[in-house]
Symmetry: C2
Subunit: 220 residues, 2 copies
DNA sequence: ATATATTTTTAGACTAATCTAAAAATAGTT
DNA sequence: AACTATTTTTAGATTAGTCTAAAAATATAT
């Protein structure tokens, strides 16, 4: 089987490959895994020997079908466990990621599928990220953020692009959790900060930094 | 923190120390972990440096308070996860041990305690083994096995001393699962095999090998 | 008490994953 | 096209955990 380390590389390469058309660069992997480029090169060779990535020196890597399947199944595990922790064990959405990083490596198709059934086949995790189904299909949200909206646009909060505790905590204090209805009341052209109506009540001020990480489903 | 490997050594030493009054021998650890004595010696030194075991060369080891606490918490995790898998995810009692071997190393007090609460504070795991509570207290069954009973003794199956798939499967085929009422009808003095009445109905024949691994609570 | 058998430890080597420092390849700039 | 900067790879070392083979300590038997 594959080690935890190998699985983390595959997951990282999968996520990075969605942000680029070319191969995934050695440095970008190193950065995302907080390791050194030389370590990445070594691991890439290993994954290449195992036919989990396609690799030509200096050209970056791409996942093979098999490598991608493994990556997606780990992401599926991660997000299902996050749902479990929040829905069944009363964790908050800002507390589950690190635990899921460990739990995602428990390798059992039966466990994953039974957990999925137990949770009644959730489509999204506590951060709005889509959960790949049994066959690896992922239904992504349209990539519209609060920062993309115009004055008087309305919508519903459906996800976050930034998963740090501080950001999630902040959102909670201003009531911008998943499912919240919002309406843009004003956009300050100087710094692109916004005044946003939350659940038809209070207006809150939100920086561009914050608004561009909040995924919205426009509601007309 | 401690690695998976260190945790497995601690767990193994804890279990072995319950079967002996002296220190736990290097060879017994090696056997239980399916490794070599030389590897055990190395690891013991490491655990000793970390003050998790007391060790004098050639004298065997004993857990320190801290080492014991870690071992017990891992056993607590293991057994809670087994309950979860059986009660919530519809696993059979012979399918859960290997998964629990991995899950037990997920290290989070909060996770463990929330899981315990979610399962409504179970006292025993699917094999009848006692689950240590939050403070590490373990309420063991009296160590009476079916093989200890006399003719016409009655009792209830409350646990197993052997956890192999083949034994658990066999018990299921003859309906000797946890909670089953039994009565000893006959003991063959030649091979100590028994004829046992199960749930006041069928009588089954059981070898000594099988009966001495079944833990019974005598019912008068 | 001495010889023999068993257990435990040491010595030295191997693998996976990592690192630093240096070399090689690629990309960007004048 | 030539120089410079950046990225990637290589070379060599390190650490955790393991192994085999041999040495040392302890236990058992005569
Ligand atoms: Mn996460
Ligand atoms: Mn998530
Ligand atoms: Mn078990
Ligand atoms: Mn058990």
């Amino acid at each position: 089987m594959n080690s935890f380390t190998e699985e983390n590389y595959l997951k990282s390469i999968f996520k990075l490959s969605q942000k680029t058309d070319n191969g995934v660069s050695t440095n970008s992997i190193a950065e995302s895994l907080e390791t050194k480029a030389s370590s990445v090169t070594d691991m890439i060779k290993k994954l290449s020997d195992k036919k989990l990535v396609n690799y030509k020196k200096y050209q970056g890597v791409n996942l093979t079908k098999e490598g991608k399947d493994i990556a997606v199944s780990i992401i599926r595990n991660h997000r299902l466990w996050e749902v479990f922790l929040v829905e069944k064990l009363n964790f908050k959405w800002d507390e589950v990621h690190d635990l899921a990083e460990d739990l995602e490596h428990i390798n059992s198709k039966k466990l994953t599928n039974q957990l999925d059934a137990f949770l009644e086949y959730p489509k999204y995790d506590p951060h709005g990220d889509p959960i790949p189904d049994k066959d690896g299909n992922i239904h992504r949200h349209l990539d519209i953020t609060l920062a993309d909206l115009k004055t008087y646009d309305k919508g519903i909060v459906v996800g976050v692009k930034e998963h740090s505790k501080s950001y999630l905590n902040y959102l909670e204090t201003i009531n911008l959790v998943l499912g919240t209805e919002i309406k843009v009341n004003k956009i300050v052209d100087f710094d692109l900060s916004m005044s946003v109506e939350v659940n038809k009540k209070e207006s809150v001020n939100i920086s561009h930094q914050a608004s561009k990480n909040l995924i919205i489903k426009k509601s007309n």
